[in-house]
Every structure is written in structure tokens, then in C-alpha cells.
């Protein structure tokens, strides 16, 4: 069964310049992710997982190659876009979950989840935010500030926020890295099942074999060799 690719990564490379040292983190990498499918990225520390996710989010600029993301009626080419339109893309079409520091400390739980709706002027989705938090078992924490929440609760809020807009692409960088086994499983299941149900493409970096195994496809990165 081959679904059309929602996310297309074609021959991309990325390097960092650290003083006189050049690190080629990503070299000539290509892959596809279909709508509603998931990809897990594994690899040792320093292999470029975060870098890849940041490229997919449009936070970093590509050296070579291109990334295209299929949107409702057109496809978005990262290479042709400037920083402004990449920022707009993130706002409208990409959800992101980090390992920690996911929540704006000065917004309440509910406000954090509603934030994407506000930024996109989608008042209609605001009611959905509390429903979502209810489903994630956070109904009684709506008006708390994040500092009062446990790590697992914070991650669930972050997942809820990433899902609110039903974006075509959701990126997660070690979303369970900070959690114990039980919480880790809970958050990962939430992520995978929600994306599958809502036809969202999920790209997830992880060190955990268990979490990686839940994905449809796996991608292994190797530590770059400095040159």
C-alpha cells in the first residue's frame, strides 16, 4: 500500500562550522512520509536528530536539497521560502514537541494549548482545547501554570497543543526522554494514536527502542565524521 507522500525529503545536507572545524551533520539524506504515517529517527547522541527535526520545522536553513510538505491545496517548498514564510508555515501547519521546556511558563495550561488557535485566529478551535485536555486527563488542571505540573503532565499538554490545529506534520524531539517508563508509554501512545486517527504525519526522534518500534518506519542516523 503506497500512500502519496505528505512530507518529501530530497537529498538534503546540513553542516555546522565550529571555528575552523566543519561538521557535516546531514549529508545527502532522502526519505518520504505519507499522511497519517509515522517515522522514528534513531541514532547516537550527536548524530543529527535534532538538526534534522529543526530542518523539517524550517528553523534552520538547508545547505543542499529540498523539503516539500503537502498542504491542503498546494505543496510548500522549504528551499524557495524565506524565513518569514517558513515561520508562517510553522505557525499554521507544523506541531512541535520538545524533550522539555515545551510550555510557555507565563501562560496557563489552557492558554498554552489555545495559543496556536489564537496565533492563527481560529477562535472556533478554542473550545476544542479544553475537550482535548479532558481527553488527556488534564481537565482539572486547566488554569494552572506549567510550573505546577509534573513532567508527564507537561508533555501531555505539549502533545495536546501540537495536535490542536490538526496540522499535516507533527515533529517530536525525544518527547519521552524525560519521563519514566509508564509516563513515557502513555505519552507515546497518545502521540501515535492521535496522529494516525487524524491523518497527521509524525516524525519523532528518540533513544528508546520501544517508542521507535511504534512507528511505521524507522530511520537510523550515524554520527558524522568530522573532516
Amino acid at each position: 500500500m503506497t500512500k502519496p507522500a505528505a512530507l518529501n525529503v530530497y537529498k538534503i545536507s546540513k553542516h555546522y562550522q565550529d571555528g575552523s572545524r566543519r561538521i557535516d551533520v546531514i549529508a545527502d539524506l532522502s526519505f518520504n512520509v505519507a499522511a497519517g504515517e509515522s517515522l522514528s529517527i534513531m541514532g547516537p547522541s550527536g548524530s543529527g536528530k535534532s538538526t534534522l527535526l529543526n530542518l523539517l520545522a524550517g528553523l534552520l536553513e538547508l545547505d543542499e536539497g529540498d523539503i516539500t510538505l503537502a498542504l491542503k491545496d498546494q505543496s510548500f517548498s522549504y528551499r524557495a521560502a524565506n524565513e518569514r514564510s517558513r515561520t508562517a508555515l510553522r505557525r499554521q501547519s507544523i506541531g512541535y514537541v520538545y524533550q522539555f521546556f515545551n510550555l510557555v511558563p507565563t501562560l496557563t495550561v489552557l492558554e498554552n494549548v489555545r495559543l496556536p488557535a489564537r496565533l492563527n485566529h481560529r477562535r472556533d478551535l478554542e473550545r476544542h482545547a479544553s475537550t482535548l485536555l479532558g481527553e488527556f486527563g488534564l481537565a482539572d488542571r486547566l488554569n494552572d501554570f506549567p510550573e505546577r505540573l509534573s513532567g508527564g503532565e507537561q508533555q501531555r499538554v505539549a502533545v495536546a497543543r501540537a495536535l490542536l490545529l490538526k496540522p499535516p506534520l507533527l515533529l517530536a524531539d525525544e518527547p519521552t526522554g524525560n519521563l519514566d517508563a509508564e509516563n513515557s508509554k502513555h505519552v507515546a501512545e497518545l502521540l501515535f494514536s492521535s496522529c494516525r486517527e487524524q491523518n497527521i504525519s509524525l516524525v519523532l526522534a528518540t533513544h528508546s527502542n520501544e517508542v521507535a518500534a511504534m512507528a511505521d518506519t524507522r530511520l537510523q542516523l550515524d554520527r558524522p565524521s568530522p573532516s
Binding site: A57, T87, L89, R90, R91, Q92, Y98, F101, L119, F145
Partner: protein
């Protein structure tokens, strides 16, 4: 190894390191410039007294004084009968026409003290019958000139014998005797004056207790030179502001030290984990911050000096500016900044080490201080020190409330509504009490100072111009030559160009042992209204100036015995600028006869005509007429007096605007440094927001909201504090220093102006993003 780790860290965040240096330098700059500006004004006012006379603290006057009187006094002193007296000298002081110019001739015993002429201005060879003159007479006189002295325009100084020759006086005639009286506080007042120029003026000189025969009159330097003294009193108010500016600068320097520590703390933490002792780390920290402070102090010294010159040039365009960095200002700027920095740094280090709660003073101590301050405000005998103590305690208490206020507000933070980005920004201002409270306290204090001083100046101006309105009811005022005044008073020498002629007679008297000025004139309803009293003044009634009322502890309705006559106080009037306490009676009052209405002249303590005022429909015509007929009179138009008075007032206070601006700028920088540090060391979610697709414009909006939040918190504290400052300045400091009260006007202009600028400063501090791109101590990946 450790040093290298620290240095590398600092080099990697060059922007923040530079900001610390600049911030501290700015603190020093403000200290230096405020000091130099005040010192320069103070010097200019001192210039109103000829330098050779400046060392006398008092003068002795007497009718027809001659050298026999002087020697009699000297014998008394030598015999030990005048222990309060340190030194005395015979003086000649008379204005005369020399070489066609009006010259004030000063004669003194030059054998005792040669004038310290500026070395480079010695003109020609020294000669005993030569004279010293001020700059303006340099090439104008035909006699030999020995040198140039610092003195008002048209002053000539010579040995007594030479002065007698020049004036054509008999060689035993004297004008008065200069005295130096022992003042136990003189030393400390002088040090206070050196450290805070202008401060000395508010402290009364010791009340002299000289046992003199009754016909002698003792006059203080202040009474002898009232213009200088009034200027000094305004300067004193400015120097109160200088004190607050100093406080704000210290807060900034402390803030820099704290930020520096916060920035470097993660490095220390790891080094400590690796086994480096805290003590060693502290030495490293104090050494590095001390180095920055010293560099900054030098930089600030130079910039402050330059800034002061520039300020003086714009506020007093026609004056030559000549400033020198004396050791006092260097001590004050460098010493205080390095000390505050090291002490503050050590304190911050101590606190970081054990993560204690942020309250610096226990509440009970603050409460006790506040109660003491209130007591000081209510008890006039605590004097000026009491007033300043109250201001200091209020500032301290206010800065103590910032952290609890932030914590309290944070509890209500979820109530803040509006756009989400605005919520983030405003709440961010409340979120970090530890990092931000010092800076907010500084900003608060600066705004409060601005409010307090602006309220005081505005109220002062309202009262002052009201006083002018009252007083300047006449259109032309004549003063000067006594004989001419007598002539005009006696007959209708003047063409009927006026509809009212008012003659003022005046003399100095002693009431309950205090020297006062007695004014006698026709006190009908019109004249009385000039002093805020709307009826004819009855013959046994008396009006007293605020200063007199205070000195004699009198209020309206009470009775006072003058020269054996019982008088009733009918009213009090305000008299800014008056130095002597003043009392006014009607011309038919028994006091008129008591002090001899005889129109004798040339005496100091018998009634004589001081001035004559005219009410007229055609003031210009009257002025021309008077001028033609009596060239010796000094004539002034009411409108001119008013303009000059208000101009002088505004010009003097223009400098306050500049000083306040500096304080606000300093406070804004300290907020900026605090915000930058907060952003560096706390993950504030900026990167997160970027990931969520918040663009640059929206980030700017958020930062504006943050700045607004900071400004609001600062203003919440500053508004009441500033009003209290204003009230204390008007009702405590000024009455205690000068005997006059200023009625506090809550002028909206003053409040808005101060808060507006404070808010702008806070917003600017929030928006500025120089350090935003730098990564924290250990960059997040």
C-alpha cells in the same frame, strides 16, 4: 585554569560583558555629572560674594562706626570676653564713582591677608597703593592694579588706607567689622557640602552667642548677601534630588554586580561540583567585578565630566564653563562605585550560595524604621536630618515592597486578559522577582524622584507666582538713593502720572532677641491684600512672614510685644527669598513712633525709606519721567520684575529636568541589564515561541508588553512614593531649611510627565534586544 574558564566564558558573551561595563560607567557618569553641575552652580553663587570676604561668617554693624570702636572690641576679645569669636577685621565697603564708573570699593587689612590673586592674572609690578579688581575693571581704571580677584562685576579691593583715599573718607571711618565665629558644626557641614554640593545651605549656621553692647548689630553672611542665599536654597533642593540620583546609580551598580554573578553562576556551580572551593570562586568573582568597576569608574569619570560641561552649556548658554575634577568627586564616584560593587557582589554571592529567600530586611526592622521616619516627619526638632532620614527610609521600604508585590501580582496573573502575546509579555514582568526586583526598585525610585521633584517645583512655582501676583500690584518701583526717595515721599515732585503712591519705610529690629526686618507703610485694604489679608490693618495689628512666625512660634490671633507695645498677629504671609524674618505694621501703628518716624538717613537701625511704589495707568510714561528727573534712582517696571523673577526661577530649575532625565536613563539601563540577564539564564520560552511560529513583529509586541509590565509595577510603587517625596520636600524639608512652606499641588502635568517618561524608559529596556542572540552559559541544543 579556573581563570581561563571564566575569561573564556566572558569573551563568549561580549555583548553582556560590554553592557556591564557600560552600565556601571553610566552609574558613575550620573554621579559625576550631578555632582559637578551642583558644584558649579554653588561656585557661581559663591561668586556673588567677593572672595576675600567669603571667609567671614558674620558682620557687625553700628552707627557711625570708626576705628576706635573696632579697637575697643578687639580689646574685649583679647581679654577673653568674646570666646565665640575666632577672628575679626575692620572693613570698608562703599560704592563710589571712580574714573566715571560706579565701583564698589572694598577695603581690608591686607597686611593680615593678601588676596590670593590667580597667579597668571597678576598685572604689572606689585605696589602698596595698588588695587585688586575683578575681571570687568581690568583695563578701566587709572590706578596701578596688582591683580585680578574673583568678585562680582565692578568690585575693587584695596588696603584700608588706599580705600579711604579713593573714597575720600576720614582715615578712621569704617563700614563694618568682619567676624569669624566658632561653629562646632562648620567642619562637618563643609564635608557634607563637598560630598553633596548645595547641601550645606539647608543647615543653619550656629546661633552666635556674643555678649555685645546693645547698639551693635550682628548680621550673618547669609543676611548680608540674600541673593546668594536664595540661590543656595534652591540649589539645596536640587541637591536633595542629587542624593536620590546617587541612590539610583548605586542600585544600578549593584544590579550590574548581581547580573554579572547570575551570568557566571552556572560556571561556578560546575567548578564547585568539580571541587573548587566557594571561597576561591568568590575571590575570582570579586576580582573580575572589581576590575570592571574600576575600568567603568574611569570611563564614567571622563564621560561625566564631559556631560556636566555640556549640560551647563545648554542650561546657561552665556556662561563660561570651567569645571575641575577635584579629589572629592573622584573619591565619591570611584570609591562609592567600587565599594557598592564589591559589597553588593559579596552579598549577592552569599545569597546565591544558600538560596535564601529574597527579603533583605526583616519586616519588623522596616516597620520600626517607618515608625521612626513618621516620628521624624512630625517632630520639627529633628530638623533636616529627620526629613532626609524619612526620605531614605521611604526609599528603602519601597524597594523592599517590590519583590512581595511581584509575588502577589503573580498570584493574580491568570486574571490578565487580552491578546495572548500581551499576556505572555506582561506576566513575564512579574515572573522573576529575584532577577528583576532590584532593577524595578531603581526604576521606581527614579520615577518617584521625578514625581517628587516635579511636584515640588510645580507647587513652588505656583506659590511663587502667586506671591509675585500679590506683591507686584504696583507698576513702577523706585529704590536707591535715600535723599531722592525722601524728596519724592515728602512732596508731589512727580507729575500726576500715577494714581497711587506707596512709601515703604523699613528698619532692622530685635524681637525677643531675634533680628527682624520691620516694614512700615500705609496698610489699607489694597496694600494688605498684597499679603493675603483683605482688610485695613488695625494700628495694633501686625502681619508676620512665615519665617518670623516660625522663629517666634506665633500663629494668627496670638500676641507679640515689640518695643513695649502689645501687637496682635492678624496674618501670616509667605515670603520666598526673604532671609530675615519680616513683620509689617501700619504707618499709624505705635511702632512707627517707637522707632522714630524721623526721616533721618545714613543709619542702619533707624526707620528709613526703602522704596516707593506707584500704581499707574501709564507706567512707561511715569518711568521716563522719573528717570529724567532722578537719574540716581533705581527704577523698575513691575512687568520686568515679574519676568526676571520667573526666568531666574525656571532657569535654576531647568537643571532639575536634566538631572531627572539622567536618573531615569540610569534606571532604564539597569532594567535593561536585568532583563537581558533574565533572558540569558532562564529559558524564557523565546525559542519555543519561535518554533510555534511567532514572528518578529509579534516578538516586538511581546517585549513592549514586558516593558509596559515592568513600567506599571514600577509606577504602582513610584506614584505614592513620589507624592510622599513631594510632600516631604514641600512640608518638611523646605520649612525646616528656610522657614517657608510650599503648598503641595498634585499637578497632573508633573505626575503624567514623570510616569510617562518612566514608562518609556521601561518599554525601551524591554524592547532593546542586543543580547537576545547570545546563548546562555551553556547553549541549548
Amino acid at each position: 585554569m579556573i581563570a581561563r574558564a571564566i575569561l573564556r566564558f566572558l569573551a563568549r558573551t561580549p555583548w553582556s560583558t560590554a553592557m556591564a561595563l557600560i552600565g556601571m560607567a553610566l552609574g558613575v557618569t550620573s554621579i559625576v555629572s550631578v555632582h559637578l553641575v551642583s558644584a558649579s552652580i554653588s561656585n557661581r553663587l559663591d561668586g556673588l560674594v567677593p572672595s576675600t570676604f567669603a571667609s567671614y561668617s558674620h558682620y557687625l554693624h553700628r552707627d557711625e562706626l570708626d576705628s576706635a570702636d573696632y579697637f575697643a572690641l578687639r580689646r574685649l576679645w583679647r581679654a577673653g570676653d568674646l570666646p565665640a569669636l575666632k577672628q575679626l577685621a575692620p572693613l570698608v565697603d562703599e560704592t563710589s564713582q571712580i574714573d566715571g564708573r560706579s565701583v564698589r570699593v572694598l577695603g581690608t587689612d591686607l597686611l593680615a591677608n593678601l588676596p590670593s590673586a590667580n597667579a597668571n592674572t597678576l598685572v604689572g609690578p606689585f605696589s602698596w597703593n595698588g588695587v585688586w579688581v575683578d575681571e570687568s575693571l581690568k583695563d578701566q581704571l587709572s590706578m596701578p592694579i596688582n591683580g585680578i580677584i574673583d568678585a562680582p562685576k565692578g568690585t575693587l579691593l584695596a588696603d584700608i588706607a588706599t580705600a579711604h583715599d579713593l573714597l575720600g573718607w576720614p582715615n578712621n571711618q569704617l563700614s563694618y567689622i568682619g567676624l569669624v565665629l566658632n561653629d562646632p558644626f562648620a567642619g562637618s557641614i563643609e564635608i557634607a557640602e563637598k560630598l553633596l554640593p548645595g547641601f550645606g545651605a539647608g543647615f543653619p549656621s550656629a546661633e552666635p552667642s556674643l555678649d555685645l553692647p546693645p547698639d551693635w548689630q550682628l548680621v550673618s553672611n547669609a543676611e548680608q548677601y540674600p541673593a546668594r542665599e536664595f540661590g543656595k536654597s534652591i540649589l539645596f533642593n536640587i541637591s536633595a534630588l542629587g542624593m536620590l540620583a546617587l541612590l539610583v546609580a548605586w542600585l544600578l551598580i549593584y544590579q550590574v554586580a548581581v547580573s554579572w554573578l547570575r551570568r557566571i553562576w552556572p560556571v561556578f556551580d560546575r567548578l564547585h561540583v568539580l571541587g573548587v572551593e566557594w571561597q576561591q570562586l568568590r575571590s575570582y568573582f570579586l576580582f573580575s567585578i572589581g576590575l570592571v568597576a574600576s575600568l567603568a569608574a574611569l570611563l564614567g569619570l571622563a564621560v561625566g565630566w564631559w556631560l556636566a560641561i555640556w549640560l551647563l552649556q545648554i542650561s546657561m548658554p552665556r556662561q563660561a564653563v570651567n569645571l575641575s575634577l577635584d579629589s572629592w568627586v573622584i573619591f565619591k564616584a570611584v570609591g562609592s562605585s567600587v565599594a557598592v560593587c564589591l559589597l553588593g557582589g559579596a552579598w549577592a554571592f552569599h545569597r546565591s550560595q544558600r538560596t535564601v529567600s529574597h527579603s533583605t530586611l526583616p519586616i519588623s526592622t522596616t516597620l520600626i524604621l517607618l515608625v521612626t521616619a513618621t516620628w521624624c516627619v512630625l517632630q520639627p526638632q529633628t530638623g533636616l536630618a529627620g526629613g532626609f532620614f524619612a526620605i531614605a527610609v521611604l526609599s528603602l521600604a519601597a524597594s523592599q515592597t517590590i519583590a512581595p508585590l511581584l509575588i502577589g501580582l503573580k498570584r493574580w496573573a491568570s486574571m490578565i486578559r487580552g491578546s495572548y502575546l500581551m499576556r505572555i509579555g506582561v506576566r513575564e514582568a512579574l515572573w522573576h522577582p529575584r532577577e528583576l526586583s532590584v532593577a524595578i526598585a531603581g526604576l521606581s525610585l527614579a520615577i518617584a524622584t521625578a514625581i517628587g521633584v516635579a511636584l515640588m517645583v510645580d507647587s513652588f512655582r505656583v506659590d511663587f507666582s502667586q506671591m509675585l501676583d500679590h506683591r507686584l500690584k504696583y507698576d513702577v518701583i523706585a529704590q536707591g538713593d535715600a535723599a531722592t526717595l525722601n524728596k519724592i515721599a515728602a512732596k508731589n515732585e512727580v507729575a500726576r502720572l500715577y494714581d497711587r503712591k506707596q512709601i515703604y519705610r523699613t528698619t532692622d529690629i530685635r524681637v525677643a532677641g531675634l533680628l527682624m526686618q520691620l516694614d512700615i507703610t500705609r496698610m489699607d485694604a489694597f496694600e494688605s491684600s498684597r499679603y493675603g489679608y483683605s482688610r485695613n490693618l488695625a494700628t495694633n495689628d501686625i502681619l508676620v512672614s512665615e519665617q518670623a512666625g516660625r522663629a517666634l512660634q506665633l500663629s494668627v490671633g496670638e500676641q507679640l510685644t515689640v518695643a513695649g507695645e502689645v501687637m496682635t498677629v492678624a496674618g501670616l504671609f509667605s515670603a520666598f527669598g526673604d532671609l530675615k524674618p519680616r513683620i509689617i505694621v501700619d504707618q499709624h501703628s505705635p511702632l512707627t513712633t517707637a522707632f522714630g518716624a524721623g526721616l533721618k538717613t545714613k543709619t542702619n537701625n533707624r526707620l528709613q525709606i526703602d522704596s516707593i511704589a506707584f500704581g499707574s495707568d501709564q507706567p512707561d510714561a511715569l518711568l521716563t519721567d522719573l528717570r529724567q528727573r532722578f537719574p540716581k534712582l533705581e527704577l523698575r517696571l513691575q512687568s520686568d520684575i515679574r519676568r526676571v523673577a520667573l526666568d531666574t526661577f525656571d532657569q535654576t530649575f531647568a537643571i532639575t529636568t536634566v538631572l531627572i532625565t539622567i536618573a531615569l536613563l540610569v534606571a532604564a539601563i539597569s532594567v535593561y541589564i536585568a532583563v537581558t540577564t533574565m533572558r540569558l539564564n532562564r529559558k524564557t520560552g523565546r525559542q519555543l515561541l519561535n518554533t510555534l511560529g511567532v514572528n518578529r513583529t509579534e516578538q516586538l509586541m511581546m517585549n513592549t508588553a514586558l516593558g509596559t509590565g515592568l513600567g506599571l509595577v514600577a509606577i504602582i510603587i513610584a506614584l505614592p512614593l513620589g507624592v510622599m517625596f513631594g510632600w516631604i520636600l514641600c512640608n518638611v524639608i523646605n520649612p525646616r531649611a528656610f522657614g517657608w512652606t510650599i503648598e503641595l499641588q498634585l499637578s497632573a502635568r508633573a505626575l503624567l510627565y514623570a510616569c510617562g517618561w518612566g514608562m518609556l524608559a521601561a518599554i525601551a529596556a524591554g524592547i532593546l534586544q542586543g543580547g537576545g542572540r547570545e546563548e546562555g552559559a551553556f547553549g541549548e541544543r
